[in-house]
Structures are given as structure tokens and as C-alpha cells.
Amino acid sequence: MAEWKQKARIMDSDGIRRVITRIAHEIIERNKGTGDLVLIGIRRRGVPLARRLADRIKEIEGSLVPVGVLDITLYRDDLTTMGHQPIVRQTEVTFSINGKRVVLVDDVLFTGRTIRAALDAIIDLGRPRYIQLAALVDRGHRELPIRADYVGKNVPTSRREEVAVRLTETDEIDEVVIMEKT
């Protein structure tokens, strides 16, 4: 059995907080305010990140931005090759996304397949005006022509490594670490 060992800690809670603040500013700047703006977090760790972004945006602009939750399990392209069906969880997008500026939020951007699935999932919910992508970490190794509009940190990695984003809401600590297979 392969063991995972921590190789480096690339962000602590202050680092994550600063990145969230910067991305919040970038989102507001790029979209010229918060009109028609909605955030959709991809389960699991995109969800707390989207909530934190919404909180920062509220502090900066004073306006509430709706936050939705997207589960992409039913849109995966590897269902038939997996040993068993992964657990499906609830998608909670209680507002209309028609004509909206949707910012998709995820923790790590890697092959791009999760985002491909998320784009399909969003388009089944309506027809947004724009879809933009925010990721806390971009680790490279894309397999599809997908890029992020807002990136917390670009982290060059090898395929043998794993980027673990841990958030207090799900993991009781705020940090980003690189794990390596030994």
C-alpha cells in the first residue's frame, strides 16, 4: 500500500484568508459590482470557499450574493469505469441562474474534468449570461481546454503528488498541503 507523506505546506489560514480577500476584490472588479452575481460552490470544499467569498464580498460591497451548492456526481465521465457508484449528494441552487453571472468555485483545479461536469450540470439548471471559474489552487496537468478566471495560487506539481485543501468547515483546520506518495 502506498503511503502519503506531507511534502510541503503551501498555505496557512492567513494565506487562505488573504487569497479569499483578493479573489473577492477581483470578482467585484471584473463584474463591475455585484449585480446579477451568484456564486456556486462545487461539493465538497468549493462550498465553504464560495460562502467565504460571499461573506467577503458583503463586507466590501455591502450586498448579499446568493450561494448555491452543486453536486457533480451524476455528470462524471468515469461512472462506468469505477468499482461502485459514488455517493450522490444534494444540489441546492434555489435561485434562477438565467441571465446571471455565475462564478463557479472549487478548491483545486487539476485535470479540468470536474469543471467540465460542473459546466454541464449548470447548463441543465438554466442559461447564465457568463460562467466564470475561481479555484483556490491551480496545480496544472489539464486534460481538457479549461482555465480559471480567478486563481488563489498556482502550484506546479507532479502527478505523483496530491494537493490537499483543508478548511475548518470540513476538516477543522485551514491549510493547503502537498502530499507525496512514498
Binding site: 451524476l74 457508484q85 444534494q90
Partner: protein
């Protein structure tokens, strides 16, 4: 996790498996409520509904579930296919397998027929009702409906009223609700209650007023009119008077009791029209939930690990 090839009955399921299935049906229900009711999950999979008995809602429910998940579905019925020419269930199953069926949904008048089919084919087999034996997807949708409304199943008092003897819905619900920790009561004339039913852990009542006392959930079964010819009850009027659910009786149950009926209903016989249309009835929601539960079943049974 649900790691079996088939779904043959609730009796074989563990409480964990039932809970997991109901958990999976929740997100499926969200899809049904969308404007675009379709996800690409089961693209390229084929679901066959093979029905040797009449059914509109169960069959339609399975076919819609398959379509919402982007599977292809075809239906075959006993009266209009080679079955009418005398083909055995085994051969029909092998033929469907050769046609590429990934899931076969079977309804058959003989108890145990789905098990026989499941042994003969690699495809997943779902029992959609076998004689008076089991109707697991109906029990799962009943449990889903109750759990959604009540927040849980453990500790609830569930009363099933009607022809328990001939009801596969009752049998599957007895297994399901008792496994999930509910208190199950059955009520009906003694000609319609199997001997020794108490051994499954249910309480048997013949007086409906007593059975309904403090009930949280009331499941009314359809009275099959053809049973009257068999002498199991003297007349519909008398049956209705003794075992029909009306306003006065409903007030004996808990104030927030739910009324379920698997359909089709005989209004004015086992259930009064004002109860069927009343605020405590969840009969229409059962139909919607049925699609969600069957989507969850199709999804879980088409996992790559089952091959």
C-alpha cells in the same frame, strides 16, 4: 453502500442499505423538480421493464426514472410478446440479455420469479412486484415519503390497514419499517391476515379504532374487489364501514398523522374522498417520490462493480 447485483426484496436488505438508498433518492428528487428533468448519468445503459401483470404507475415510474437518467428504456408485456407464445421466463431473460439489457425490471404473478431471473442473467434484476411476496420499490418510496415528512422512521407508529394476506406492498413495508425501527401494526379482517404474522414483530388488530390509536403513519391498502368472490369479506359497504378510513377515524390517530395509499384508490371504500384529498394525505407525493426512489435504484444497480 448497496453492493448487490439485484433488488429482490426488502427482507434481504439491511437498515444501512435502506438508509443509503433513501439518501440517494433525495438528490434524485431535486432533478425531477427542475425544468430540464434530465441528467446524463446512465447514457448508453438499457433498462427493460418486463411486466407479466398490468400496471400503469409502477411501470411508468420506472420508465421515467430511466429516461431522467438518460438510460434507454423499452417495455415488454406478457400479453404482447413471445411470452404469449409460451416462452419461459428463463429464455425471455436470456433474450433480453442478448439485446443488451443492463437492468431488467420484472413484475410477475409468481412469488420468487425475480430470483429465478436474477440467477439466469448478468443484468441487474429489480423486483417490481412478485405475486403476494414483495414490492420493494413501493416500500422504499413509502419509507422515503414518511422520512421526508417526519425527519426519521425510528419510533414511529405505522399502521397498515387492509388485505394484508394478499398484499406485497404490506409485506415489503412490514420488513422495511420494522428494520428502520418503527412500530408496525396491521389491521384487517381475520380472513385477510396471515396466521403467525406476529412472528415478524408486528402487532395484529382486527378493530380499526384500536389500531389507529396514536398512529403517526396510516398506510391504506387497496381492497381488491375480486376477493369478495372468494368470500374473504361479505360486501364493500360492510368492509368500508369496518375498515374504511374516514374523518372520525383519522382523528383517533396523532394530529399530524400521514395517510398513504399505494394506489389505485377505491374512493369511498377503503378511503373516504375527503381524506384522500385532505391535507394529511401524501398520496400524490408518493407518486413523485416513486420516480426519485427508482432513479436511485437504477443508479446504484448499474455500478461498474456489479459486473
Amino acid at each position: 453502500m448497496y453492493k448487490h447485483k439485484d433488488l429482490l426484496g426488502i427482507r434481504e436488505m439491511s437498515a444501512e442499505e435502506i438508509g443509503f438508498l433513501l439518501d440517494t433518492a433525495g438528490p434524485m428528487k431535486e432533478i425531477i423538480k427542475r425544468q430540464i428533468k434530465k441528467v446524463p448519468t446512465l447514457r448508453g445503459k438499457t433498462v427493460v421493464t418486463l411486466f407479466y401483470e398490468n400496471s400503469t404507475r409502477t411501470r411508468g415510474s420506472f420508465e421515467l426514472a430511466a429516461k431522467y437518467l438518460s438510460a434507454d428504456s423499452i417495455n415488454m408485456s406478457g400479453s404482447s410478446s413471445s411470452v404469449a407464445k409460451g416462452e419461459s421466463l428463463y429464455d425471455t431473460g436470456r433474450t433480453l440479455q442478448s439485446l443488451g439489457a443492463d437492468v431488467i425490471v420484472l413484475r410477475h404473478p409468481m412469488p420468487g420469479a425475480p430470483r429465478l431471473l436474477a440467477r439466469s442473467v448478468k443484468a441487474a434484476v429489480i423486483n417490481a412486484g412478485d405475486g403476494a411476496h414483495e414490492h420493494p420499490s413501493q416500500a422504499l418510496l413509502d419509507m422515503f415519503t414518511v422520512r421526508e415528512k417526519k425527519g426519521g422512521l425510528a419510533g414511529l407508529r405505522v399502521v397498515i390497514v387492509g388485505d394484508i394476506m394478499h398484499s406485497r406492498v404490506a409485506r415489503s413495508n412490514i420488513w422495511g419499517f420494522t428494520k428502520m425501527g418503527a412500530e408496525v401494526r396491521v389491521c384487517g379482517p381475520s380472513t385477510m391476515i396471515p396466521v403467525g404474522l406476529e412472528e415478524t414483530g408486528v402487532q395484529v388488530f382486527h378493530q380499526m379504532d384500536q389500531a389507529l390509536d396514536g398512529a403517526d403513519v396510516i398506510i391504506m391498502l387497496r381492497i381488491q374487489k375480486e376477493r369478495q368472490q372468494q368470500g374473504l369479506f361479505p360486501g364493500l359497504r360492510e368492509y368500508s364501514r369496518l375498515y374504511g378510513l374516514n374523518r372520525r377515524r383519522l382523528e383517533l390517530a396523532a394530529g399530524d398523522a400521514l395517510v398513504l395509499h399505494p394506489g389505485p384508490m377505491n374512493r369511498g371504500v377503503e378511503i373516504a374522498a375527503d381524506i384522500a384529498d385532505g391535507s394529511q394525505a401524501v398520496i400524490e407525493e408518493q407518486v413523485t417520490n416513486g420516480v426519485a426512489v427508482r432513479m436511485a435504484l437504477l443508479y446504484l444497480l448499474t455500478g461498474g462493480g456489479a459486473q
